[in-house]
Amino acid sequence: MSDILLSIKDLCVDFNTGDGIVRAVNNISFDVPAGKTVGLVGESGSGKSVTSLAAMGLIPNPPGKITGGEILFKGKDLVKASEEEMRRIRGKEISMIFQEPMTSLNPVFRVGDQVSEILMLHMGMTKKQAWARSVELLDQVGIPDPQRSALKYPHEMSGGQKQRVVIAIAIACEPKLLIADEPTTALDVTIQKQVLDLMFDLQEKYKMGLLFITHDLGVIADIADDVVVMYRSNLVEQGDTKKIFTAAGHPYTKGLLACRPALDKNPKRLLTVSDFMDESGAEISLDESKTKKVDKVYNPSEEKNPVLLEVNNLHVDFPIKGGVFGRTVDQFKAVNSVSFKLRKGMTLGLVGESGCGKTTLGRSILRLIEPTQGQVLYNGIDLTKLDKKQLRDMRSKVQIIFQDPYSSLNPRMTIEEVLLEPMLLHNIGGSKEERISKAKWLMEKVGLKSNQLSRYPHEFSGGQRQRICIARALAVNPEFIICDESVSALDVSVQAQVLNLLLDLQAEFGLTYIFISHDLSVVNFISDEVAVMKSGEVVELDTASNVYLKPEKQYTKDLLSAIPKGIPKALLAEQNL
């Protein structure tokens, strides 16, 4: 047996919310052995991040407080350590990598200085030594041209590079324990793979213990030695990874494992946690018919599925300005010569990495961004030629649902106002009473309660808010909806529910979707056809099953191979024997 590096015993953390005390972490115990990886899995609000912050001594106090238990690091109880002692441990003995690479670095300092800072603080290096070491570290985490990159500011780097810098800071003092809180959730799938590989190489090299926190079991399957599952502040299951993946005991774990769409075959609807357990947390027996996996067939009929949207040779250029008078000196081709047809009642998936132009394409179809040239024929009408008034009328037929359910609802409007506003704008419903009854009906349709109309957005969870956004889009009886990364910000379990909802609504109202996402498994599950985008161009366009099972272009193959397999390494080794 290896040495136990971190041992959490009966840990309890309470938060004083003003309305009373909320227990964020309830009596949990687990160990992280030296040199091993432990995956801590749970959805938002399950207490997993609070647990990791507790180990760093970074629980914001007030309102948070550790009310019981011990956190033993190399035998020393960190709960009792003074702030001064914790400061010497933080960054030197225990390091942390955070979820948001975009905002985790200080925007006004050069990245070299931000790495140097920790070396000067803990390793007693001079500024010059620290800078030289920082350049080495940046090289080690795979930043190209480290000499010059060290002089860059965070905004001059991509998301993946920033996360590498954060990793360089975390490993700078060769800590014994590395805590990674959703380090790859915000990254593209290929970048995710690179960053994960890097982290595990470094773990091997420095023999670090690694506590890896995620909401997605698939991500940690092939890397974790042990898995700890948290649900509503409690630890519900722990064990070695193979056991968790093959013989999960707790219904929540089973639900988590089932809700992630697979690449080959999926059930007609995704299973969710609620298929395994009821509201109170008691296990319910799974309806076996729901697990039956189906082959995807794409056979639209000319009668039932006429072409609804036809995009011909669409271009969107962004001017690059320069000179004293701000003349346009060059064009950035965000969308370059894109053409496709979309049939009524079908879903087209748009996949690609950040910056490939998929969002710009979606928005230019709706003319939220003006296309530079090309045609967008909707039912034979060219949207690019419409004047403002005609376009406004058209807006009731085509809707868009955005990524961020937190910022796309006005925090000062009640849900009733949110839902009534578009109806009023497009003269839907004769009277206020009619509109309110429609709003109530919409709430039921998206799986919320009609008596919640008087509430404000902040009273809902992320998944519920995304349901509200869907209800708002449906309020104007649209035929066609663009979902722009609509499930990307959600936990996998909630994501499955929202995907199911979108499918149900499509079946009921005959909706047509364009589904934009960087998550290939999600796109595969929901789409009939898939377009793979790269640098503004569509590189591959085919039915979903063809793209995923028989990809033709190298780029598509690369993307697909970067998706975590979701199979434990122990199991993988057995299969290969």
């Binding site: 441990i89 006004v108 954060v166 975390a170």
Partner: protein, 314 residues
């Protein structure tokens, strides 16, 4: 850098259309809204010949276009002619007024900004604790008290009874002006410190909850170092926006303080020009403040690039 230089040149070129516009507004104001200046200057009993002579002397007999170009010319040459009331060269009057005004407003502005920032960081460090609550309460008390109270109380007790400062007046030349401006500067600081501390505290607290601060804590940095190194520089970005809006008032002078302390600054100059319908002086002040406003916003843009590497001027 060449991009920045291009930007600065472009912004300075913007001065031209803006000045033409300001001149147009000034011209309209005095030809449409205001009455006949010759009536004002000569009184009701002047005869037609006197009025005609005066018009010719003031250049008011020229065509409207020519009059407009007279204003434009004065804006670009900085030669505003003579005051109708005092017959002095206006450029000379502006110069004589600017010195007392600036010796009062610039120290007041810098002392209050730096002090407010320091106090704001201090209370942000102790956020939620007793000292934070005490200073915030004090700040509200300071800003709720009328400035007249400060002026009268300080003049009576600090200057008159204790004799620490001059009660009023001004003397040109360094260092003889210092005893005269000291008390107005103190009052300026007391008046602006309340709202400034409250505002800067909010800005700093906004930064404290940012992710990069969490990263800094995870590095093991002390809270002091985090505040002074990481947070302060980021908080300076909105601070610049806020303070620059106030900069043009430095030129216009602190009207209230100048009049209570009998300081012959630009504020007083403008006020007496308005009372005396001394149009050339008012025109000069309008043009001067427009120029100051443009220059100060340019300065703030340049300051942004120094503080925030994300800002590129173009």
């Amino acid at each position: 850098m060449s991009g920045n230089l291009n930007y600065i040149i472009r912004r300075l070129l913007y001065l031209i259309p803006v000045l033409l516009g300001v001149c147009g507004l000034v011209f309209l104001l005095f030809n449409v809204v205001a009455g006949d200046p010759t009536m004002l200057l000569l009184g009701k009993h002047a005869d037609a010949q006197q009025m005609a002579d005066l018009k010719a002397q003031l250049g008011l007999d020229k065509s409207l276009i020519a009059q407009y170009f007279d204003i434009v010319k004065s804006a670009f040459t900085f030669d505003f002619g003579r005051s109708w009331a005092t017959k002095q060269q206006i450029t000379e009057m502006l110069y004589q007024g600017a010195i007392p005004s600036l010796t009062l407003t610039i120290p007041g502005f810098f002392i209050s900004t730096v002090m407010s920032l320091m106090i704001a960081i201090f209370v942000a460090y102790y956020r939620g604790k007793g000292i934070d609550l005490f200073i915030r309460t004090l700040a509200i008390a300071l800003m709720s008290t009328s400035s007249l109270v400060y002026i009268l109380v300080f003049q009576k007790y600090l200057a008159f009874e204790l004799g620490l400062f001059e009660i009023s007046g001004y003397e040109y030349g360094f260092p003889s002006f210092i005893p005269y401006i000291a008390l107005p500067v103190v009052i300026w600081v007391v008046m602006s410190i309340g709202p400034d501390v409250r505002f800067y505290r909010t800005l700093i607290l906004d930064e404290i909850y940012q992710d990069y601060v969490r990263t800094a804590r995870a590095k093991g940095l002390s809270e002091k170092k985090i505040l002074f190194k990481h947070v302060l520089r980021n908080a300076l970005i909105p601070v610049i926006t806020y303070t620059v809006v106030n900069l043009p008032f430095l030129i216009l002078g602190a009207l209230l303080l100048e009049s209570f302390f009998s300081i012959p600054g630009l504020g007083g100059l403008t006020l007496s020009a308005v009372n005396a319908s001394d149009f050339p002086v008012i025109k000069a002040m309008a043009i001067l403040s427009a120029i100051a406003y443009i220059l100060f916003t340019l300065v703030s843009d340049i300051l942004y690039t120094l503080v925030d590497p994300r800002v590129k001027l173009n």
